[in-house]
């Protein structure tokens, strides 16, 4: 980094020397840490061929793929439903009628406060007790939809509210109806600004499909547990979870890169003299998508 930051100036000769020493020491510490981990892996036989050989089998690869597809399926359905839920409730919260606004506010605030796992349990344990047949997929999807839909509703609402007031005032002044103002004036500007926040929330949704493991929905993590628990291959939990982690990190990383790219792209000023709404995270959920 050649640019001075808020914390320190451009380093002079002494600071450069000191930083180099700290750098060497910390590289040694990091290498030592990784080395210790690798040694531990090696010592406990995690690199034995026996623990890895089942990943060569087509059946095991198909198993992993099926798990991955189950994860993507749950995430895909929940994404569509959550976007719809979010749009609907954001519209209700932006309404001029309190009879629409009040219940929508209650629902959105409530579902954001309940732990996602408890929402999923509502869809899992309640039907289980009364003997109704509900697919585990739908228990998971319902939970994901309610929670992420509520968060998305907040992102949408905050995004629309962040458009400068002059825009809607101007639109009303030339005689547009509320429907037209939101559809033609506010939404096009707001979507540009909130797209990164939406994608970040979808990454969260994708990660949260892993909760399906707890209700034994056969997604990637669940399949990983089964593959890892095979005694014939020496209980290869470590190799299996490493592979599962790589798949998750690659998938979510790809989406995160998309969010980052959108942010950069949206941040570029358009060929206009008007001020462009800056891209930012909206709502306290979007700000720290966790």
């Amino acid at each position: 980094m050649t640019q001075a930051t808020v914390l320190y100036d451009l380093p002079g000769p002494r600071a450069r020397r000191r930083n180099a020493i700290i750098g060497v020491v910390s590289i040694a510490a990091i290498v030592g840490l990784i080395g210790w981990a690798v040694y531990r892996f090696w010592q406990t036989g995690q690199f034995e061929a026996r623990k890895w050989e089942q990943f060569q089998y087509a059946a095991v690869q198909r198993e992993l793929l099926a798990g991955y597809l189950a994860t993507l399926k749950a995430a895909g359905i929940a994404t569509v439903l959550a976007l719809l839920f979010g749009a609907l409730f954001a519209a209700a919260r932006l309404s001029d009628r309190w009879i629409l606004r009040a219940p929508a506010t209650f629902v959105v605030e409530l579902f954001r406060a309940i732990p996602l796992l408890i929402l999923i349990f509502f869809g899992y344990y309640v039907p289980l007790q009364y003997g109704w047949s509900i697919d585990k997929l739908w228990a998971l999807v319902i939970g994901l939809t309610l929670y992420n839909g509520s968060v998305l509703a907040e992102i949408f609402r905050a995004g629309i509210n962040a458009v400068p007031r002059g825009q809607s005032e101007g639109a009303y002044a030339i005689g547009m109806r509320k429907n037209q103002v939101i559809r033609l004036i506010l939404l096009p500007q707001a979507v540009r600004a909130m797209l990164p926040a939406i994608v970040s929330q979808l990454v969260v949704l994708l990660k949260d499909t892993a909760l399906g493991f707890i209700i034994t929905y056969p997604e990637l993590l669940f399949v990983g547990k089964q593959i890892g628990g095979r005694l014939a291959f020496g209980l290869p939990y470590v190799p299996t979870y490493l592979i599962v982690a790589v798949i998750y990190i690659a998938t979510c990383g790809l989406l995160s890169v998309l969010a980052w790219w959108l942010q950069k792209r949206m941040g570029r000023a358009r060929k206009t003299s008007a001020a462009v709404l800056p891209t930012k995270d909206f709502g306290d959920a979007g700000r720290t998508a966790i």
Binding site: M1, A4, T5, V6, L7, Y8, D9, P11, A15, N19, I22, G23, S26, I27, I30, R40, F41, Q43, T44, Q46, A113, I114, P115, L116, L117, I118, F121, F122, Y125, V126, L128, Q129, V203, K207, D208, T209, A210, L211, F213, I214, L221, G224, K225, G228, L235, Y237, V238, Y241, V244, A245, Y248, I249, C252, G253, S256, D284, A285, R287, T288, I290
Partner: protein, 218 residues
């Protein structure tokens, strides 16, 4: 309604034990992730490239990994490395490792909100690094860190329920026990929801209060 109340009173010891463990998990992981996250945040804004790279890698790996996978790795895979770790410490560790990635990002972006000119002016006045940090940068950065930090901790409180899938008796594990006792699950889950609302509301109120109190025109 009487039935609804009975579910709570009959199973009071299970509920109180579950929520006590939830609060315990929350407090320990909050302190742990605050310490580790601040350390990682300091690495990410340090002038040493190796530390910056390490911090960035840690954050990007942990942020793109489901918390459930972190739990599963600590509970199922780590014992295979001949490291003995009990369920409860594993839950503390998983929550801490995962949450500190988010705390790190809050710390980093909080420091980055302070205008460079502020510290440049301070250095021009002859202040030392610690003076710049202590009386110029941190007081301004902390203001913008508080609300998102509260959001992270609220999310972490809700995430403690995941420990239920890994043999820790906390609030999220109550439905599984109740299923054996044959209690009506809807009432059981409603009481858990109420419990979480009671825990979360003060945090949300505190967050809104601090947000108003610390708001500055920039």
């Amino acid at each position: 309604m009487a039935e609804f109340l009975r579910v709570l009173t009959d199973n009071w010891s299970l509920y109180s034990q579950g929520f006590t463990n939830t609060v315990k998990l929350f407090l320990v992981a909050a302190v742990g992730s605050l310490v580790l996250g601040t350390l990682l945040g300091a690495m990410r804004v340090s002038p040493v490239p190796a530390l910056r790279a390490f911090g960035a890698t840690y954050v990007n790996v942990l942020r793109n990994t489901p918390l459930t996978l972190v739990f599963a790795f600590l509970v199922f895979a780590v014992p295979k490395l001949d490291v003995n770790i009990d369920y409860l410490p594993a839950a503390f560790l998983a929550l801490t490792l995962y949450t500190s990635a988010f705390v790190c990002e809050v710390v980093r972006s909080g420091i980055n909100t302070v205008a460079t000119g502020q510290a440049e002016a301070a250095r021009a006045l002859g202040m030392t690094f610690l003076q710049v940090l202590g009386s110029i940068v941190l007081p301004q950065a902390l203001r913008s860190m508080v609300p998102p930090m509260m959001s992270v901790f609220i999310a972490m409180l809700k995430n403690t329920t995941i420990a239920a899938g890994f043999s820790v008796l906390e609030a999220g594990a109550i439905p599984a026990y109740m299923s054996e006792r044959g209690e009506p699950q809807f009432a059981v889950l409603l009481w858990i929801t109420i419990g979480f609302l009671i825990l979360i509301l003060p945090l949300v109120v505190l967050q809104r209060f601090l947000e108003r109190k610390l708001a500055v025109a920039r």
